[in-house]
């Protein structure tokens, strides 16, 4: 069953010099699939990820998330879908500096407001534990190593039990060992918990572990290299 489906997605920037970031892309991503989007700098990898992650709105084309056409939703509706069904991991951890690790992880749950304070703290601890950073829960982000921070960021992405994890260069800022661990975690998430994981990377080692690779060149999918 496809969890994320794009049809003829186009993203153009209008301005003095119009730029086409994403050019007529159609793809389908299944639950439990680990997909890597690859390509040289400026090929539109991140732009495509932002479109798939409902952070940006396509100029034309259709997008389905969990069998719902999300192409015509307004900003707040898109925010709700992101909150409930998507989780993001970025190259930089983007944890809130003034909040503890546990508070960062529980932030999306608090916004969603479905769990009691005790329940969401329990769930936060369980997520941190599953990523091996439970002992760091009361520290602040700046007290953690890069690899630990990225694992906390993954825990936060998982907070509301999303259907899809979108990762933008998740290992780009990590040393080899930490990178390998994060790669392992994302792979396991797809294969063991049935979430779709879409990661943008230019690291061939990272990409090699993916179930499928999508190669982008100049905003288009290059089928020969995918």
């Amino acid at each position: 069953m496809s969890i994320l489906k794009a049809e003829n997605l186009v993203r153009r920037l209008v301005g003095e010099i119009p730029v086409t970031l994403v050019d007529d892309i159609s793809l389908e991503i299944q639950a439990g699939e680990f997909v890597c989007i690859m390509g040289p700098s400026g090929s539109g990898k991140s732009s495509l990820l932002y479109l798939l992650g409902l952070l940006d709105v396509a100029s034309s084309g259709q997008l389905w998330l969990d069998n719902e056409n999300v192409s015509r939703l307004n900003e707040d509706q898109l925010a709700n879908r992101r909150l409930e069904k998507l989780g993001f991991v970025f190259q930089f951890h983007f944890l809130l500096a003034e909040f503890t690790v546990l508070a960062n992880v529980t932030l999306p749950m608090r916004r969603l407001g479905r769990l009691s304070e005790t329940k969401l703290n329990q769930r936060g601890m369980a997520l941190l534990d599953s990523l091996g950073v439970a002992d760091q829960s009361h520290k602040y982000p700046h007290q953690l190593s890069g690899g630990q921070r990225q694992r906390v960021a993954i825990a936060r992405a998982l907070a509301n039990d999303p259907l899809v994890i979108l990762a933008d260069e998740p290992t780009g800022n990590l040393d080899t060992a930490s990178g390998a661990l994060v790669q392992q975690i994302l792979r396991d998430l797809a294969h063991q918990t049935g979430k779709a994981v879409v990661a943008v990377t230019h690291d061939p080692v990272f990409a090699s572990s993916a179930d499928r690779r999508i190669m982008l060149i100049d905003g288009k999918i290059n089928p020969d290299l995918s």
């Binding site: 952070l55 707040d76 925010a79 909150l83």
Partner: protein
């Protein structure tokens, strides 16, 4: 606690110095507002009190505001009646059948009334003359409508009842004539009559002209002296609520047809001056709060710029633009609320200190202090101003924060 409020608190507590600076702006703004407003309102009320206490709330004169309607006009109400060379009747001046009118006015609630016959006199003593006016009064009634009894330095109003030939003069005249209690002076009226009267009291109001030219005698005696038996020419009326004066004056005038002037009508120039004073005060105080709100604007703008990445990440997580705006509006409100509380405390402290400063207004012998008004309205107004300027100051940064587009920030990170 809502997550937006929690983030707002975290933003503020993690920037203690900036928060304190913004906070102190609001605290000082509120405190100064209170101190200035209490002093201005206090002195305004003190001033009005003097104005109101020393002059009647309503004076009814033996005059008509409009000329009497002529019978011809009543006969042809729709006609164009033109009457020429009309001379008013010669009659004894004064309010006619004043006892009935007095009784009628006394039925109105919340007022005290005293009949007065006032006329010009020349007072002479040891070859010196002083022109002035003599008021014939009923001491027991006069005491209820005038502060003159409190201004008595020697003797009392009641002495006029005891001694119908007595006269009460001002300190200014007594100094000028070098005349004391118990001495006689000569009182001459316009039509040539003259009478020797005994000084039974001396008052001092602090108003030099009044203290030199005003004198009081028994009403009956004045009626005889002015040759107007059973007439008076003034009603002096004092109200429980001076601010009702205009309405009540109008009712009295409608009822008895004689001209009734309220103190608000008589002192319109001074009252409009007070309005100007209030406008000045509010602009000064508003300026203080505007400066304070710039401090808040500055702090919140800095937070928005510093926290753009956090805002982007919160939005990518699924926070609405509204949630983000709410965070910054909360921050403004928190500063406003805490600032108001401390501002009120500091302001009340300032007011207390001001109220202990001693001043010596003329005509007052006992200790007097700076007039401070403790009314609850100004505390409410201070909080209202502070909160609204804080929220207004937070609104612009909040709107900017709400507009942050995550993709632009994430791409640039």
């Amino acid at each position: 606690m809502p997550i937006q409020l929690q983030i707002a608190l975290t933003h503020l507590t993690s920037r203690k110095r900036q928060t304190l600076v913004s906070l102190s702006g609001v605290v000082l703004g509120v405190a100064f507002f209170l101190a200035v407003s209490a002093l201005m309102r206090g002195s305004e009320q003190d001033f009005i009190k003097r104005l109101v206490d020393n002059s009647p709330h309503i004076t009814v004169y033996d005059e008509y505001r409009h000329p009497q309607i002529q019978p011809a006009q009543l006969r042809w109400p729709d006609g164009a009646v033109h009457i020429q060379h009309l001379t008013p009747k010669t009659e004894v001046r004064g309010i006619r059948s004043y006892r009935e009118k007095l009784a009628l006015i006394e039925t109105l609630p919340g007022l005290r009334i005293a009949p007065v016959l006032i006329g010009p006199v020349v007072l002479s003593f040891a070859g010196r003359d002083q022109a002035g006016s003599l008021s014939g009064i009923i001491p027991s009634k006069m005491k209820t409508v005038s502060t003159i009894q409190e201004k008595m330095q020697q003797g009392s109003l009641d002495a006029l009842t005891a001694n119908p030939n007595g006269i009460i003069i001002g300190r200014g005249l007594s100094d000028k004539f070098q005349i004391g209690l118990g001495r006689n002076l000569s009182v001459a009226t316009q039509d040539g009559g003259s009478r020797v009267m005994k000084v039974v009291g001396i008052f001092r109001t602090g108003n030099a002209i009044y203290d030199e030219s005003q004198s009081f005698a028994n009403l009956k005696r004045a009626q005889v002296m002015f040759d107007r038996p059973n007439r008076i020419n003034r009603f002096i009326i004092q109200l429980d609520d001076p601010y009702q004066a205009r309405d009540i004056a109008h009712r009295i005038e409608t009822a008895i047809a004689y001209k009734a002037t309220s103190w608000t009508e008589a002192s319109e120039d001074i009252l409009s001056l007070l309005t100007v004073r209030n406008i000045i005060m509010f602009s000064v105080v508003l300026a203080i709060l505007i400066v304070a709100s710039f401090g808040i604007y500055n702090t919140l703008s800095t937070i928005v710029i510093e926290k753009t990445r956090d805002i982007a990440i919160l939005k990518s997580m699924g926070f609405h633009a509204n949630d983000i705006r709410l965070i910054f509006l909360f921050e403004g409100s928190i500063i406003g609320a805490i600032g108001s509380v401390f501002g009120l405390l500091l302001g009340a402290g300032l007011m207390h200190i001001l109220s202990t400063i001693e001043v010596k207004p003329p005509g007052v012998t006992e200790k007097a202090f700076l007039p401070i008004w403790w009314g609850i309205e100004q505390f409410e107004l201070a909080v209202l101003f502070a909160l609204s300027s804080c929220i207004l100051a937070a609104y612009l940064p909040a709107r900017r924060a709400g507009k942050v587009h995550p993709v632009e920030i994430l791409r640039g990170a």
